[in-house]
Amino acid sequence: METEVKETQGKIFSAENPGITAPTDWQPVIMGILCNWCSYAGSDLTGTSRIQYPPNIRIIRVPCSSRVDPWFIIKSLQTTADGVLISGCHPGDCHYISGNYYARRRFLVTKKLLNFIGYHENRIQFSWVSAAEGPKFAKVVAKVTEDIKKLGPLHRYKKENF
C-alpha cells in the first residue's frame, strides 16, 4: 500500500508533469508546552493583542512547568516535532509557589543529556513568560522557529512508521 502511494507520488512529481512541483518549502513543527497560569495566558494575550507570531508552534497546556516530564520532550522529538519549547512562570511567580524551581533543575539536566547524545541544544528551549508578556512570547516563538529553521528537519532517532 505504502509503496503504491510512493510510486503514484513519484509519477505526479516528475519531469513528465512539469506543472506540478513537490512541496519543498519545509516548515518546522515545534511542540510548545505552556504553563496554565503564566505562559498560556501570555500566549492568549499575544493573540488578543493581534501580535503576529509564527504558526509553527503547537501548544499544549499543562498546570505548571514542573508538570513537564522529560519524557514529553523525548517523545515529541522522537515522533513529529523538530523542536520543543517549554515555557513557565518567572522564578518566584509560580502559582504553586516553587514548581518552576524544581522544573528548572530538571530542564538543565534534560537539555544537557539530550545534547550529549546528539540533539542540537537549540532544539530544546525553555523560556519564562508571564501573563503580561504578550510581545515577549511572540519574540520567543519567532526566535525558536528561526533557530530550528536554520538547523533543518530532525531525522536523528526518529520513530519509524509513525
Partner: protein
Amino acid sequence: MDYSKKIQEIASKLFADNKINYFVGYKQNSFDDSQVPFLITDPAEIPKLVFTDRSVFNLANYLKPDHTKRKRVGLVVKGCDSRALNLMLTESQVKRENIYIIGICCEGVLNEKGEKAQNCVECVMPDPVVYDEMIGSPTGKREYTINADIRELATKALEERADYFESIFENCIRCNACRHSCPLCYCAKCCIDQETSTLYHGANTSSGAMHALMTWSLHLAGRCVDCRNCEKACPSHLPLHLLHKQNESVIYENFQQHLAGMEKDDRGAFYKYSLSDPDDFIL
C-alpha cells in the same frame, strides 16, 4: 583486600544470635576466579562466603523485593553499595531495623581485564555511609573528578557524538537487565513497560532504545551512585555509565556539588532546589 574470614565470623555470630533469617554475600564462581552473589539461609553454608577485590556486584539489589518486610537480612556492602542502600532507606524501600549491614572500607574492585575498575579509580566515597559493623580502616571522602569518557566525548563534534550514541542504542536488545540490576529501580510497575500504551514506543530500534534509556537515566539522575551494576548486567556490553556520569557531572557542577546517597534523608538532586540555580539557558 581479603575479608572472607571476618565476614564468615560475623555471619556465624548473627545466625547464632538469631538476629537474621538470611545473609547475602559473595561466593566463588565454580568455573573461573570471578564471584557471584550468594544467599544463605543455612549456617552450614557460611564457609563458602568470600570477599576479595573480585566482589563486584551491588548486593543492595537483593533487598529490592518485599523480603525485608517480613525477614531480617544481613548483607555486605562496599562504599558505593552503601550509598545506594542509604537512598533505599531514605525512600522507605527497606526497613532499617530488619537489616544488618556489614560495611567494608573498599580499596577498589577489579574489572574483567584484572585492572582496577574505572568507577573505583574515580570513587568519591570508598567507606560505607551506613553500617552496623565496619571492616577495614576508613580513608574518608575523596575529591570528585569528571569521568574520563565524558571529558573525551565532550570534545567531539555533535554529529560524531550522535553517530556514536546511535550505534550504541542500535545494539540494545531491550532486555531490561539494566533496570532489574539497579537497586534504585524498584517500581512495581515501570513506566517503560507499558508496551500497549500509545505513549511508549518499545521497538528494538535505536529510536526505541533511546526512548527507554533516556527515560531510565533521567529517572536515576541525581540518584545514581555509580556502582555500575547495570553495565555488568548488560548482555550487549553497552557503556551505560556514560548517561549516568553525564547527568552526575551536570548535577555536581550546577547544584551545590550534589552527590547521591551521601547523607541521610537526602532524596536526590531533583527533590530540592536553590534560588541560585543556573538560569542562563532559559530565554
